[in-house]
């Protein structure tokens, strides 16, 4: 990795001042599980790394039945795994946390870092850019080895999949992401936080270069049954091939409202609105869940080598629904 200068501020105000106004100059360091790999592979080459871990106010988990859950951006996966209120009230989130089977990653990795980690696209990681092109200018993903790439939302230049473990659950649970920057704090709906970039210079999330994630607010979820189902080949630490998070608001045995979110299948988490709508008013059954799964991938447009992921995403939705319904 290139050398850089390093600072470890203790307030978010100071942190923001240490960050550059345009992408590339600086990088924020939280858990480090992704950033260090990016640095080692020269995928990012900042002149300064700003360690956020010394900022106490970015920590802490609080939960009240009335206000819901507040996660500081630096809360680790392990803290979430061990949080009884989180497990009891936000099963989808807890499942996603428990899907990260490496205790080392859980002890290091943070909520904020999970949201801001960079795509695992192997062309991107090999230095061909976020929207990878070969030296001859030809795009690499569409005709290349795209077995792990997007099957939805992939008509633009971005064909990677959003790598966040927590994003599908947070979107399903209508979380808000609080961020802080030079102009103060603002709040972004979780489903607006992720964007498909149109150029290599853009990022895949709605932060400015000198903004940081400070809090994740998950609204109270009384009466909501939720689940995340990840299709992972291994039990040891492994990336999901597809995932789905589901939040069902129940009226007795009938679905009153539903949110279904696909993960690891598109450049952003995908809110499957038609599939969710189809569940409303229904009793959850194997058939209803399977039908919703099919609807969720109805607009899938697989690339040359990833058609199998369409089925995986559909199955993930079905299983998440059945799991949520218990």
């Amino acid at each position: 990795m290139h050398n850089f200068e390093y600072a470890s501020p203790t307030t978010k105000e100071a942190a923001v001042k240490l960050l550059g106004a345009s992408w590339g100059e600086t990088e924020a360091l939280a858990g480090g599980t992704d950033l260090l790999a990016l640095l080692k592979d020269y995928v990012v080459t900042p002149k300064r790394v700003v360690n956020l871990k010394g900022i106490k106010e970015l920590g802490g988990v609080t939960y009240t039945a009335a206000k819901g859950l507040r996660l500081g951006a630096l809360v680790t996966f392990e803290e979430m795994l061990d949080n009884a209120a989180l497990k009891a009230n936000y099963a989808a989130l807890w499942h996603a946390v428990a899907g990260v089977t490496s205790p080392q990653i859980r002890n290091m990795g943070t909520v904020g870092g999970d949201l801001c980690q960079r795509p695992r696209c192997w062309y991107y990681r090999a230095g061909y850019g976020l929207l990878p092109h070969g030296e001859d200018g030809k795009p690499l993903v569409a005709d290349g080895d795209n077995r792990y790439h997007a099957i939805i939302g992939n008509s633009g230049a971005a064909k990677f999949v959003n790598p966040s473990s927590l994003a599908p659950a947070l979107v399903a649970l209508k979380a808000k992401i609080k961020v802080y920057g030079p102009n103060g704090a603002r709040e972004i709906d979780a489903d607006k936080f992720f964007v498909a970039p149109a150029s290599n210079e853009q990022r895949e999330y709605a932060l400015a270069a000198n903004e940081i994630v400070t809090d994740i607010m998950v609204p109270a979820a009384a009466g909501v049954r939720s689940a995340t189902y990840e299709v992972r080949q291994k039990e040891a630490l492994d990336w999901p091939l597809a995932a789905a998070a589901v939040a069902l608001t129940m009226d007795g045995k009938t679905v009153k409202a539903a949110r279904i979110v696909l993960g690891h299948v598109a450049p952003t988490p995908v809110l499957a609105e038609a599939a969710a709508a189809a569940l409303v008013g229904k009793t959850i059954s194997e058939d209803a869940a399977a039908a919703a799964g099919k609807l969720a991938v109805a607009n899938a447009s697989p690339l040359s080598r990833n058609a199998y992921k369409v089925q995986l995403a559909s199955v993930a939705v079905k299983r998440a629904i059945l799991q949520a319904a218990g």
């Binding site: 990795m1 070969g134 299709v231 080949q233 040891a236 091939l241 199998y308 089925q311 995986l312």
Partner: protein, 716 residues
């Protein structure tokens, strides 16, 4: 003349018991120093600039900026202008600097201009390979295959079976620490499977006397067949050390380079036609196969594997690809041959609507001299996995199957040689009663140290901890490279002979005192006594005291008198899997291995070898694939995130049964590291086919491939 033969079972004190490895405490405590852990005064860090292209000519190289970078002490062009680079990672420039970071910075300051040439990196679809990449096929015919296939009333199966390229992924990468002790002598700490030979190899490359290279290695973090040569980096780093005034240089490959260039297990793909009579009697085999191990030539896998069919027609074609060069991978070519052969056999059994176990037993005589061993092993394995209770016709689903999760069983048999390599050792018996064995061998983690201690202690009737084991240095008596499962036979035989000779010398020394002759003495439980008479004895310590300050030294050798080790084993494995037919994910339920290897020295580390082979087998069956990109020519998964290895919970329940005792011990010691590696791909692939009713042709059995096979329903 001395008798060396192994002691009878009832007389064995240590041999065949479950004994914990002697270097265990060093390994679990982090004290064990691997060559990668060696830090030397003033040590520099080496780095190598590697080709970013799969095929290119070097137009120019400019290292001037790198030479001026801070901390840089030596820069050397390995392959210069006009050199044709043949794979991504091919070596171009080596340099050494005071810190690893400085070395990396300097590497990036080297300017190289390339002329890109066309490349080929994948060979699954042979039809897409340009003619220039296709070598002339080798052909072989046994019997009268055309006539045999034309026979009336045969059941004929045709199918395709494949193994993708995988890599060794040794956890300790290839590399070394090298330095010039003075202007004539080199000291290296390599990570090597051939400590006795590696110094000489380096010396030849540097045109210096072999005895001027001293090689030492206490521990090695994995080899699996990939760590025999000194390698270009060993040579170039030693040259850099010279350029830097003899300073030590440490160079170990980065993980991406390790995976890309330091080990390619060749691919093997085959279209097979195999025929049997309606009663299941195997008749004829025909196959058209190809494979690739990089730009060089490779041999054909030995198929039909184990079965010696009377009529065979085979072709094998090498496809030259711009991939890192092939290296021996634990039982070279056998796992591939097993997947191709045993897959075709189980598919044929399915077509015959026969239980493959019955089909295998029906044809067992075609396995040759070890037919009875296979019979016993098949029966034992079947009992361990509950074959008769759990096996169902293909696609019917073994008990426990649900609508979406199908369970299936599969089996495979295998073979390997494992004859002993040449080996020398010195045995020392000291006046204070301590004993040492010194041998230029290496312990790859298989238990070499431990087995040496066991053999010497057994031969001298001593407790284990009386025996010191010194290995891992080319100044010790030479011993063969650890490859081909030849080590255990070689080292144990040499140790046995040296120990018996040393004991006889001790007998001669003490016989007069005991009022007898050496031939009337024996060693029993830490004593020297008159044969069969415990009342006429002296303790080991008392006996050794007669030596004064001059120890007994003997040289033990393999080969030598009395056959203590042989070669040739069988082995059976059976797998029980569950396949989620909605996701294509395969989970191991249970996996059993029954293995013979002659006389077992240490049952504990022997079983570990088999467990390890099975786990490596699960990994290569389900996860491992060196994914090469057609467009860029690069390995896309040159990391351990997407070059997937099984974790602790991905392997299911494993059981191992070692065939020992009467009928097995008499064969002497036989190597074990490789045979149990051969069957997993075939057994697991067969279990998946049994579970889902269709063949997934190529391993690894990824979700994508399982779903594709299900969608095709066995057609196409």
């Amino acid at each position: 003349m001395a008798e060396y033969k192994w002691p009878e079972a009832e007389k064995r004190q240590h041999i065949g018991k479950r004994i914990s490895r002697i270097d265990g405490p060093d390994k679990v405590s982090g004290r064990a120093k691997y060559s990668y852990d060696i830090n030397r005064p003033g040590m520099l860090y080496g780095k190598i600039l590697r080709s970013p292209y799969a095929h290119a000519k070097i137009v120019s190289i400019d290292t001037s900026a790198a030479e001026k970078m801070p901390g840089v002490k030596a820069v050397k062009i390995i392959n210069g202008k006009d050199f044709e680079l043949q794979w991504v990672g091919h070596e171009i420039v080596a340099l050494a600097a005071e810190t690893e970071q400085q070395a990396e910075d300097a590497l990036r300051a080297i300017k190289v201009q390339y002329e890109k040439l066309s490349h080929l990196v994948n060979d699954l679809e042979r039809a897409k390979a340009p003619a220039a990449s296709l070598r002339k096929p080798a052909e072989g015919v046994d019997g009268e295959p055309d006539k045999a296939f034309a026979e009336a009333g045969l059941v004929i199966h045709e199918g395709f079976y494949g193994n993708d390229v995988i890599t060794h992924c040794c956890l300790e990468p290839h590399g070394l620490v090298t330095e010039w002790s003075d202007d004539k002598n080199v000291m290296i700490h390599p990570s090597s499977q051939a400590i006795s030979g590696i110094g000489g190899e380096l010396a030849r490359a540097l045109e210096m006397p072999a005895s001027n290279v001293h090689a030492h290695m206490d521990h090695i973090g994995g080899g699996f067949g990939s760590k025999f040569p000194v390698d270009i980096w060993g040579i170039e780093m030693t040259k850099l050390s010279k350029l830097a005034g003899g300073k030590p240089v440490k160079y170990f490959l980065e993980r991406d380079a390790e995976l890309a260039v330091a080990g390619t297990r060749p691919s093997a793909y085959a279209r097979v036609k195999v025929a049997a009579k309606k009663d299941g009697t195997l008749v004829a085999w025909e196959s058209d196969a190809w494979g690739s191990g990089g730009v060089g030539n490779i041999g054909s896998p030995p198929y039909p594997y184990v079965w010696k069919l009377p009529h065979q027609k085979k072709t094998f074609q090498v496809v030259a690809t711009n991939n890192g060069p092939q290296r021996a991978w634990r039982a070279p070519n056998h796992p591939q041959a097993a997947v191709i052969t045993m897959g075709a056999m189980e598919d044929l059994a399915a077509k015959l609507q026969m239980d493959p176990l019955d089909f295998f037993l029906k044809n067992i005589d075609l396995t040759g001299v070890r037919a009875n061993v296979y019979k016993e092993e098949l029966s034992k394995a079947a009992e361990m996995i509950g074959w008769k209770a759990n096996w169902r016709q293909r696609g019917a689903g073994a008990p426990g199957s649900t609508k979406t999760v199908k369970r299936g069983l599969g089996l495979s048999i295998h073979t390997w040689g494992g004859t002993p390599h040449q080996s020398d050792c010195d045995i020392l018996i000291n006046g204070d009663g301590t004993v040492e064995i010194r041998m230029g061998t290496q312990d790859l983690g298989v238990g070499t140290r431990t087995t040496l201690q066991i053999v010497v202690a057994e031969s001298l009737a001593l407790s284990l901890n009386t025996v010191k084991v010194t290995i891992g240095d080319n100044k010790l008596p030479p011993s063969g490279a650890s490859g081909g499962s030849t080590t255990i036979g070689g080292i144990s035989s040499a140790a046995r002979r040296g120990s018996i000779d040393a004991l006889n010398l001790l007998f001669e020394k003490v016989a007069p005192t005991m009022g007898t002759t050496a031939d009337k003495l024996e060693a029993v439980s830490g004593k020297i006594q008159v044969i069969g008479d415990a009342t006429k004895s002296m303790t080991w310590k008392q006996a050794c005291a007669k030596l004064g300050v001059t120890p007994i030294t003997t040289r033990g050798k393999q080969p030598g008198k009395d056959t203590l080790a042989t070669g040739g084993v069988g082995g059976v494995q059976m797998a029980d899997v569950s396949v989620d037919i909605e996701t294509g994910i395969v989970k191991m339920n249970k996996f059993v291995a029954v293995q013979d290897c002659g006389l077992i020295i240490d049952l504990k580390t022997a079983e570990s070898q088999v467990f390890g082979a099975m786990i490596m087998g699960v990994t290569y069956s389900l996860y491992e694939e060196k994914i090469m990109d057609d467009a860029t020519g690069k390995m896309l998964n040159g990391n351990m995130e997407f070059y997937k290895l099984a974790g602790l919970r991905d392997i299911g329940e494993l059981q191992v049964h070692m065939m020992t005792g009467k009928g097995y011990d008499e064969r002497g010691v036989i190597g074990l590291g490789e045979p149990p590696t051969n069957s997993p791909g075939a057994a697991i692939s067969n279990a998946v086919a049994n579970a889902i009713g269709v063949r997934v042709p190529t391993i690894p059995l990824t979700p994508a491939r399982v779903l594709e096979a299900l969608a095709k329903g066995g057609k196409g």
